[in-house]
């Protein structure tokens, strides 16, 4: 048996306020043909990743739509976990030394997990490529198999990718989050399903001003002064030092400008630790620059507070993927300024739903324009909210999923 997760019930109707009654009704009618469909979602972990977050929201909602939807987590021992972590990094374009021992451990992991598949399902969705070889080891399966990659595989390390590809080819379909993240060298049907935010999560719930005010005060932030906020992982690509440079330099024009950097990951490796040290050194003796690094204790409501409190939400850069917290900010009608990473550009259309900047000068200009021009900020924020409502809400994700499953069952 795979690992089980304890999920709270969710009612689709609770999303009517955010997504509209029509969207809910449409979803229900689209789901009717696949009512009772037995779907197993298999993932590498149940916690702490964007994949896990999407499943936490979507699985109970698909259940409410009448599917017999399950989410289980593959089993891994310590040596195997090391191999899947290395594979994850290699797939993301970080060079790893992929060894024969890793291949052996990874194959053992797949074979062992294949043996754990004892129940019968109509569809098995494997989330992320690391467990893909399980499919190969399942001798007889009447189920349709779908690989849902939440990773950007475009720059995957060759030997790691080739290892995987033949296994992925045995699937009935693959899902990528964006065309840019997919591989050209796959011959199976590919669906594009971008990720989505849950408007009802604690990260997006409305919060009274006094709560926002109090929490910021507890971090020493002055709510009367303008605040730039960047929420992001602690890695070099996030441009954390650049964010400090931008804000410090902008103080010539906006003397009381503050910056809050809210870190969402703990550095686990030498480059990550170096990134943190660089940031810490850059912030030394910079009053008005706040680094919040209580990663383990910082929850959805606090992230919500920081985004709501921001005059401008900044994302200087992004290593990979979507950076979906930008959509969380847009949903709150915040003006955002982002670097030109592919995932960010889906959410921020320059001049319409936010501003895109490519160098120090442009970042400074964009932020000062937004702070000087509340009408522009409000217009971009409102358009950003609408953009997220149309493209990045969980209801849209569910619709894509239901349509994908329906198509799959019809053999389309």
């Amino acid at each position: 048996m795979y690992g089980t997760l304890g999920l709270s019930h969710r009612a689709l109707d609770d999303l009517a306020d955010a997504a509209g009654k029509e969207a809910i009704a449409e979803l229900r009618s689209l789901a009717r043909p696949i009512e009772g469909l037995r779907v197993l979602n298999l993932s590498v972990t149940g916690f702490g990743t964007g994949t896990a977050e999407l499943l936490t929201s979507s699985v109970p909602l698909l259940t409410d739509l009448g599917l017999d939807c399950h989410w289980q987590v593959v089993r891994a021992s310590e040596d195997v976990a090391a191999a899947t972590r290395a594979m994850y990094q290699g797939l993301g374009g970080v060079h790893v030394n992929w060894t024969q021992e890793m291949t052996d451990a990874w194959q053992r992991f797949a074979a062992m997990n294949a043996g754990l598949l004892t129940e019968s399902f109509d569809v098995v969705v494997v989330h992320d490529p690391q467990p893909a070889a399980i499919r190969t080891h399942v001798a007889h399966s009447d189920a349709k198999w779908v690989l849902h990659s939440h990773l950007d595989l475009s720059s995957a390390q060759d030997d790691v990718w080739l290892q995987l590809r033949s296994h992925i080819e045995r699937f009935d379909a693959a899902i990528f989050e964006a065309p840019e993240f997919a591989r050209g060298d796959l011959s199976l049907p590919v669906y594009i399903i971008p990720p989505a935010i849950d408007p009802n999560s604690a990260r997006n719930m409305p919060l009274p001003d006094d709560v926002i005010h109090t929490v910021l005060q507890r971090y020493g932030i002055d709510t009367a002064k303008p605040l730039v906020c960047q929420v992001s992982p602690c890695d070099v690509a996030s441009g954390l030092v650049g964010a400090v440079d931008t804000v410090v330099s902008l103080r010539r024009r906006i003397p009381d400008l503050q910056l809050a950097i809210v870190l969402t990951t703990e550095p686990q490796d030498p480059p990550g630790r170096a990134c943190y040290e660089d940031l810490a050194c850059r912030c030394a003796d910079e009053p008005g620059v706040f680094v919040v690094s209580m990663v383990r204790e910082l929850g959805n409501v606090e992230l919500n507070v920081f985004q709501r409190a921001a005059s401008v939400v900044l994302q200087r850069g992004l290593r990979k993927g979507f950076g979906l917290w930008v959509s969380d900010a847009l949903w709150k009608s915040k003006p955002v300024v982002v670097g030109p990473a592919p995932g960010l550009l889906k959410q921020v259309i320059d001049g319409r739903t936010g501003l895109v900047a490519e160098n120090d000068e442009q970042f400074e200009d964009a932020i000062s324009r937004l702070i000087a021009d509340p009408a522009l900020s409000a217009r971009l924020g409102a358009a950003g909210h609408d953009h997220v409502a149309d493209h990045f809400l969980i209801t849209r994700y569910l619709r894509d999923y239901v349509q994908m499953l329906d198509g799959l069952m019809r053999g389309a």
């Binding site: 304890g6 709270s8 936490t56 703990e266 030394a284 990663v295």
Partner: protein, 430 residues
């Protein structure tokens, strides 16, 4: 130099309304005696965990009362941190197979950090075992060191592996002072430093403990699928056998017969690389079965400071069913919110709970169920207990008391002339 951890500013004046005039003035008077003193705290990580949480509050407050305080983190690579993790576990009683090579790695990184260390502070507080040998290397290199050095041990050393403690002890014995969390954690064979005890404390103004409007509390519960209109009990802890999470589910089950509306919220604080926590999570989920009034949540799913605050405030009774515990500071967090707490009679819990007055101390699941049931059935008495708990925490377990303890230790240890310490040059113990 070592990297300085950025902290966010805090003001002692914000605490005056919470702790009152007398306690505030006592702190300010102590601080005046130490005005201008320069102090550095050194530990292994700026991220997460109890030590980082404490320093994030303590450092800005020390600065605010007129001293200069910094928080620095040591440098190290994976080989070092793997060893210090094993060292930490072994000091808590897990066996570690030391090799000459692994000892050498630990010493080597301490040497490197000693070389990077800015030895100009009046007070140096070294936290936990990772950087404990920095002082030895300063002495070896320079024949002396500046300032007053204190080793702050946050670990319960009662069951420490002898070999590991013997390796650490000679380094610690060079310090002027050593601070432990509780008297029973102090090793008998530690000679040299003056021994102090500072129990941990909570920050009443932090997002985890500060006031939250009731409507926001209810709204947060709803977002996690919990009904704010029905009674709820909660346990917030790591998922491991010593917190008896399965026993908590059993207690809830037993009470569910009498209180069919009852809900249980279990909140785990887990590390992403904690296989044991994950396996206990699964056991709890299985024990919960098809009962959707049991909610199993985790920090890894975004349940953070404010969520914990809300769940503690909303709970009718907070449980901490530990069978083995360090200090169990989560008990004070709950008491501070005016909730009665039913908790295991172990570790630092009896210091926080006055049995029958601010909660109940229990040793078995049956006792636990009985006391929680009684509190559920007697809301007026439960509120009275909660109110007494608030005063107990105000007196003993707030971060301002922690600050005061530190200041008074520094005052006691300060050498009048500020001259380099008289430690003769010696070789580093190996």
């Amino acid at each position: 130099v070592l990297a300085t951890v950025p902290t966010t500013p805090k003001s002692i004046e914000d605490y005056r309304p919470v702790i009152g005039e007398e306690r505030t003035e006592e702190i300010l008077a102590l601080a005046r005696e130490l005005r201008g003193a320069r102090m550095v705290h050194v530990n292994a990580t700026a991220f997460g965990g109890g030590v980082a949480e404490i320093l994030a509050t303590l450092i800005p407050l020390i600065n605010d009362v007129g001293l200069h305080a910094e928080w620095q983190v040591i440098k190290g690579a994976d080989e070092f941190f793997n060893i210090t993790k094993a060292m930490h576990n072994s000091l808590q009683g897990m066996y570690h197979d030391w090799t000459p090579a692994s000892r050498e790695i630990w010493l080597n990184y301490n040497r490197i950090n000693a070389e990077l260390f800015d030895d100009s502070f009046d007070f140096v507080v070294i936290h936990d075992p990772q950087p404990a040998a920095v002082l030895s290397f300063l002495d070896e290199r320079r024949g002396s060191h500046r300032g007053t050095w204190v080793w702050r041990c946050h670990i319960d050393l009662t069951d420490a592996q002898a070999e590991t403690w013997d390796m650490l002890r000679p380094h610690v014995e060079r310090y002027d002072g050593a601070i432990f969390t509780m008297q029973q954690y102090v090793k008998d064979d530690l000679h040299g430093p003056r021994i102090f005890c500072i129990p941990p404390a909570i920050d009443p103004l932090s997002p985890k403990n500060g006031d939250l409007p009731p409507d926001v509390v209810s709204e947060i519960l709803l977002r996690y699928g919990v009904d704010p209109l029905r009674p709820m009990i909660t346990q917030i802890s790591r998922f491991d056998p010593w917190k008896d999470p399965l026993g908590v589910v059993d207690v809830y089950r037993k009470l569910k017969v009498e209180f069919p509306e009852l809900q249980l919220v279990m909140i785990a604080s887990m590390a992403s690389d904690d296989p044991e926590g994950w396996s206990w999570y699964e056991k709890i989920v299985r024990r919960a079965g098809e009962d959707y009034d049991i909610h199993v949540l985790s920090n890894l799913n975004g349940v953070g400071n404010i969520e914990v605050n809300a769940f503690q405030r909303a709970a009718r009774v907070v449980i901490q069913k530990s069978t083995r515990e360090g200090f169990g500071l989560v008990v004070s967090e709950a008491l501070w919110k005016g909730r009665p707490v039913v908790a295991g009679n172990v570790g630092g819990i009896p210091l926080q709970i006055d049995d029958g007055k601010t909660g109940f101390l229990v040793s078995t699941s049956d006792e636990c169920a009985e006391q929680v049931g009684w509190l559920l059935g007697h809301p007026a008495e439960a509120s009275a207990m909660g109110a007494r708990g608030v005063e107990h925490v105000r007196d003993k377990f707030l971060t301002t008391r922690y600050l005061r303890d530190y200041l008074s230790i520094f005052r006691d240890l300060r050498r009048r002339d500020g001259q380099p310490s008289p430690h003769p040059a010696q070789q580093v113990p190996r």
